[in-house]
């Protein structure tokens, strides 16, 4: 079970983690992008933190949807609409929910990632956030079907995301700014895949009660 309070904690953790990693994400974006991913994400989640109080006592669906709409209008760049869609879609999928069981959790992540696919049309190994998110969803589904509890399920999800993130290093980018660098994009970890990992890891910490 994931409570609404935990969802709010998660989003606060994400905001904290992204501002801690603002420089790190920006540095990852510099050699293969335009060096603003950390700035974009930090700006977006700071806005989310301003917005949340006003919707804190509505349902989980609305909280996530509001998060998505806020990111959408404050992040900009490629990641803005992508993460905006991520949270808006998960919110729509969980309309009126006050708490989430493991199948709701699958719903959350699956519809979120489907949204990213529709928006950005990434394919596996394009060297994008999708390379971290796709294996994460698969792992979550398997784990839940397997009857694991929430912490176990999220642990496997995050492990898969982290592996996917690291796997972007040897890839040549075929989407986003990095793709213009051709072979010069090889050898760098994708910033978006990294922020995706951090976001999921923050949820793991939350359910672990850390």
């Amino acid at each position: 079970m994931i409570t609404k309070a935990q969802i709010l904690q998660w989003l606060e953790k994400v905001a904290a983690v992204l501002s801690e990693n603002r420089q790190y994400l920006t540095d990852l974006d510099s050699p293969i992008g335009d060096g603003d991913h950390g700035i974009n994400m930090d700006r977006g989640f700071k806005k989310v933190m301003e917005k949340l109080p006003s919707v804190a006592d509505t349902d989980i669906g609305n909280i996530l949807k509001t998060t998505g709409m806020t990111l959408m209008s404050s992040v900009g760049g490629a990641s803005g609409p992508l993460y905006g869609t991520f949270f808006m879609r998960s919110g729509m999928a969980l309309a009126a929910k006050e708490e989430l069981d493991n199948h709701d959790l699958v719903e959350l992540l699956q519809s979120a990632v489907e949204g990213i696919v529709q928006r950005g049309r990434p394919q596996l190994e394009d060297k994008t956030m999708y390379d971290a998110l796709f294996p994460a969803v698969e792992a979550l589904k398997a784990s839940v079907e397997n009857g694991d509890d929430t912490v176990e399920a999220m642990q496997k999800t995050v492990d898969a995301a982290e592996a996917g993130m690291k796997a972007t290093i040897p890839l040549q980018a075929r989407k986003g700014r990095a793709s213009y660098l051709g072979e010069r994009s090889i050898g760098h970890q994708d910033p978006g895949a990294t922020s995706s990992y951090l976001i999921l890891n923050a949820l793991l910490d939350t359910v672990k009660g850390e």
Binding site: S73, P81, G120
Partner: protein, 357 residues
């Protein structure tokens, strides 16, 4: 970094304020979300043209808002694409009922944000279409990249499509014309210096005193290749041939299906320029190169083009799509037909481009 600015966070807003007070007869500026729009918007019965992108390319796009060109422009932070709420609010403001055409430069960020805005506008019952500009021949393939970037052809497409909208073309005809202009236009850019994004405070790349970058975009990204400095005649030849010798280019773009409210993919292929073609030649400064040097570039470019049996029937020379204070230039050649020339020649009254009225 030395610039005529105040606090870094205020740069874009203060520049927009300045433009608003300088040209109240032509444009108004809406803040939060930010967009520049025609002082007389909405223009009844006319399709509304909306573009936008990161700031730092002035006069594009805000400087092209006015009679005969854009109805609204949505500026993001410097070199960062704007957000969907900007385009959505702009669309609601300028839509007269005849619909809104989004003119989008092909950068993932711009594309995704404009697509989201198009969906929001559609859900609001606004007839909307979106055309992509992807004309940068410095990007070779579209299969393994995000595709050719939108550069110089954007200015020409905004002028020509804007003229057609003014003349009463409906949404689909505006979209068809805009698509044709993009298919007919090809560009290449070079940089003699880098540029400094205010928020970064230092040049986005380093270039030796005896080097130049060939095949740059418009965001201070390094180019396709770096060379030792050459004469303007040699540079003009490299640039002009990069366009004239560029082969057919195929890519898949997404356009909006209003009937079914969904995106449909279209495969588009445009053909190389060839002897006998009439072209509009656009020689552009990246911001820091004075027009005098552009004329030296134009001189040699024109010789090469005519030598290849093409003829320059119109031209534009000056700083129109820039990268802050970067020194450098770009060349855009647009194959022109009667329809294109008719709307190129049509009156335009904007802060950045004006003739015929």
């Amino acid at each position: 970094m030395k610039k005529l600015i105040n606090a870094i966070d205020d740069v874009v807003n203060e520049q927009l304020e300045g433009m608003a007070v300088a040209h109240p007869d032509m444009v108004k500026v809406h803040f939060d979300p930010n967009f520049v729009y025609r002082a007389d918007a909405p223009v009844s019965g006319k399709v509304a043209l909306v573009s936008g992108g990161g700031s730092g390319h002035e006069p594009m796009h805000g400087g092209f808002v006015g009679v005969g060109m854009l109805h609204a422009a949505c500026p993001g932070a410097v070199f960062t694409s704007p957000t969907p709420d900007q385009m959505y609010e702009a669309a609601k403001t300028v839509n007269s009922g005849a619909g809104v055409l989004f003119l989008v430069k092909n950068y993932t960020g711009d594309v995704l944000n404009f697509e989201t805005a198009a969906e929001l506008a559609h859900d609001d019952g606004i007839p909307v279409q979106s055309i992509l500009i992807d004309d940068d021949t410095a990007v070779k393939d579209s299969l393994y990249t995000a595709g050719r970037r939108g550069v110089g052809t954007t200015v020409l497409a905004e002028k020509i499509t804007g003229g057609a909208a003014e003349a009463g073309y409906d949404l689909d005809k505006c979209a068809d014309l805009c698509r044709k202009v993009n298919m007919n236009g090809r560009s290449i850019g070079i940089a003699l210096t880098s540029c400094t994004v205010p928020a970064a405070g230092k040049p986005t790349f380093d270039l030796g005193d005896d080097e130049f970058e060939f095949g740059i975009g418009i965001h201070g990204e390094p180019g396709r290749e770096r060379f030792k400095m050459k004469t303007v005649d040699e540079i003009a030849e490299m640039m002009t041939l990069a366009i004239l010798d560029d082969g057919a280019y195929t890519r898949t773009v997404r356009e909006w299906d209003r009937a079914n409210g969904e995106w449909v993919e279209k495969q588009l292929t445009d053909q190389p320029l060839k002897s006998g073609d009439q072209v509009i030649a656009f020689v552009n400064s990246m911001g820091g190169t004075p027009v005098s040097e552009l004329y030296a570039l134009y001189r040699k470019m024109a010789q090469i083009i005519e030598g290849r049996g093409l003829s320059i029937v119109r031209n534009l020379v000056g700083p129109y799509i820039t990268s802050l204070e970067m020194q450098g230039a770009s060349i855009t050649l647009l194959k022109a037909d009667d329809e294109i020339l008719r709307f190129w020649d049509a009156p335009v009254v904007t802060p950045g481009l004006r003739w015929g009225a």
